[in-house]
């Protein structure tokens, strides 16, 4: 599955992390080829959010390596910054900048990080706001939008820097049920465009439809990794089976 000619989008090897005495990630190995869509699920406290936060340097780790397109994270400050620039992150709680308009939320990094002139930055931002289907909200402030709209702005903000990899940390968990779909629709579309995606979510419908691999984590370890058909029909791991029983009723 892994093309030998070009490095994988994400290559994680023997990753270990401790929060004090708590061993939150234990020998995690994970490889995501370019264009792959991986859904990570597992009970709370299993380390799935921590794993995804390690990938764009929001969390440090003690042992192991993370390579993004062959570029090792943390090898140097410069490489870390580069890795981060190539990675878009969407948070559970949106984390939009409340003092900036929707448009400015999207253009801030374009102007300060990518050094684009104002006009070009705004054009790019509007392009992505159109992709998430809220260009008409561009001049509003985050507090004026619904949760679903805010999360779509957050996705647009992350897409603006043209990342090669998108990370989603429970993007729909903080949303009212009726808003989950509009966010998932945007993510499905994004997957259709060939974006490499790592997504922590409990939206099993999304996993079935979009993922090529489902990763199940428990107590800091990846205990099962399988294509959705296999994972949902016949999970090999008993804890995965138990987990699925609980969330698919």
């Amino acid at each position: 599955m892994l093309a030998l000619s070009s490095p994988a989008a994400v290559e994680i090897a023997a990753l270990n992390k401790w929060f004090g005495a708590f061993h939150v990630l234990q020998d995690v190995d994970l490889s995501a080829p370019k264009g792959s869509r991986i859904v990570i699920c597992g009970p709370s406290g299993s380390g799935k959010s921590t794993l995804i936060r390690c990938i764009n340097g929001l969390e440090s780790y003690q042992r192991g390596t993370i390579r993004l397109e062959g570029c090792e994270l943390g090898a140097s400050r410069k490489e870390t910054m580069l890795a981060r620039r190539n990675t878009g992150m969407v948070f559970q709680s949106f984390n939009l900048f409340p003092h900036l308009s929707v448009l400015s939320n999207c253009t801030l990094a374009l102007r300060r990080v990518a050094s684009k002139p104002k006009k070009e930055a705004e054009e790019i931002a509007l392009h992505y706001l159109e992709r998430v289907k809220i260009p008409e909200q561009a001049h509003k402030y985050p507090a004026q939008l619904s949760g679903g709209q805010q999360q779509r702005v957050a996705i647009a903000r992350a897409l603006c820097l043209n990342p090669k990899l998108m990370l989603f940390d429970e993007p729909t968990s903080a949303l009212d049920p009726e808003m989950v779909k509009e966010v998932l629709d945007v993510m499905v579309e994004l997957a259709g465009d060939g974006m490499t995606m790592l997504c922590v979510t409990h939206e099993m419908g999304f996993a079935r439809e979009v993922a090529d691999q489902v990763v199940f984590m428990d107590q800091g370890r990846i205990v099962e990794m399988a294509p959705p058909a296999t994972f949902f029909e016949a999970p090999a791991n008993p804890r995965a089976r138990l987990f699925l029983q609980k969330i698919l009723h």
Partner: protein, 219 residues
């Protein structure tokens, strides 16, 4: 001795003659204190050692009387060959003294910003300076408009201290008139009312600013 309104009014021009100086000193000191205080607070967050050093500086500044700062800068520094004008000492002294207090206000304002903001800034690749300037500082200001305004009024009310280093200012001028005429009630009342007026103007301005900032937040 009755309060002589005509005499009181006659002292107004003399006292308001230095109002511009008082205001300039106050404005310059507020700006100086805010910049210095923000700098102290940012450095305090840069790690364990800078944090420790800045905490010491902030506590030191806050626990020394403002008069001590003025005397030190004006009378002690010349011994070491550093001669500053009375106005410079005035602005410097008030800036340094109030920077300690404002640093604490800024700290509260930054602490109140959710951690997610910091993470979002890092996730979109902003460097540290841009994160402070474009993400943290604007939200901090929104959180602290009211207490910061209090300190600005406080700076204004501290300008009479500068009389001890012969900076022309309103209360000192009023006291000069009193010493010459042996009438204390009128000039001191006039000076007091003028301070009240200026303080009310500053308070009103801060209220307006706060309202605008909060409106922006709710929009």
């Amino acid at each position: 001795m009755n309060f002589d309104v005509t005499f009181a009014l006659s002292t107004v021009p003399t006292i308001t003659g230095v109002m511009a100086t008082t205001m300039s000193i106050a404005v310059a000191s507020c700006a100086g204190a805010a910049l210095l205080g923000f700098g102290l607070e940012i450095v305090r967050r840069m790690g364990r050692l800078p944090g420790f050093a800045m905490r010491f500086v902030i506590d030191f500044v806050r626990s020394t009387p403002v008069l001590a700062w003025l005397y030190f800068l004006y009378f002690v520094l010349p011994f070491y060959g550093i001669r500053l004008s009375a106005l410079t000492v005035g602005v410097l002294g008030l800036s340094v003294y109030y920077s300690g207090y404002l640093a604490e206000v800024f700290k509260a304002g930054i602490d109140a910003i959710p951690n997610g903001q910091h993470e979002a800034a890092r996730a979109v690749g902003l460097n540290r300076a841009d994160t402070i300037l474009f993400v943290l500082a604007p939200q901090m200001l929104r959180n602290i408009a009211a207490p910061m305004g209090n300190y600005f009024v406080s700076v204004l009310k501290a300008t009479p201290y500068l009389a001890v280093i012969a900076v022309p200012e309103m209360l000192g001028r009023a006291f000069d008139i009193a010493s010459e005429t042996y009438r204390y009630a009128e000039p001191l009342t006039v000076a007091g009312l003028l301070f009240l007026m200026l303080a009310l103007v500053v308070t009103y301005a801060v209220k307006q600013l706060e309202k605008r900032l909060l409106q922006a937040a709710r929009r």
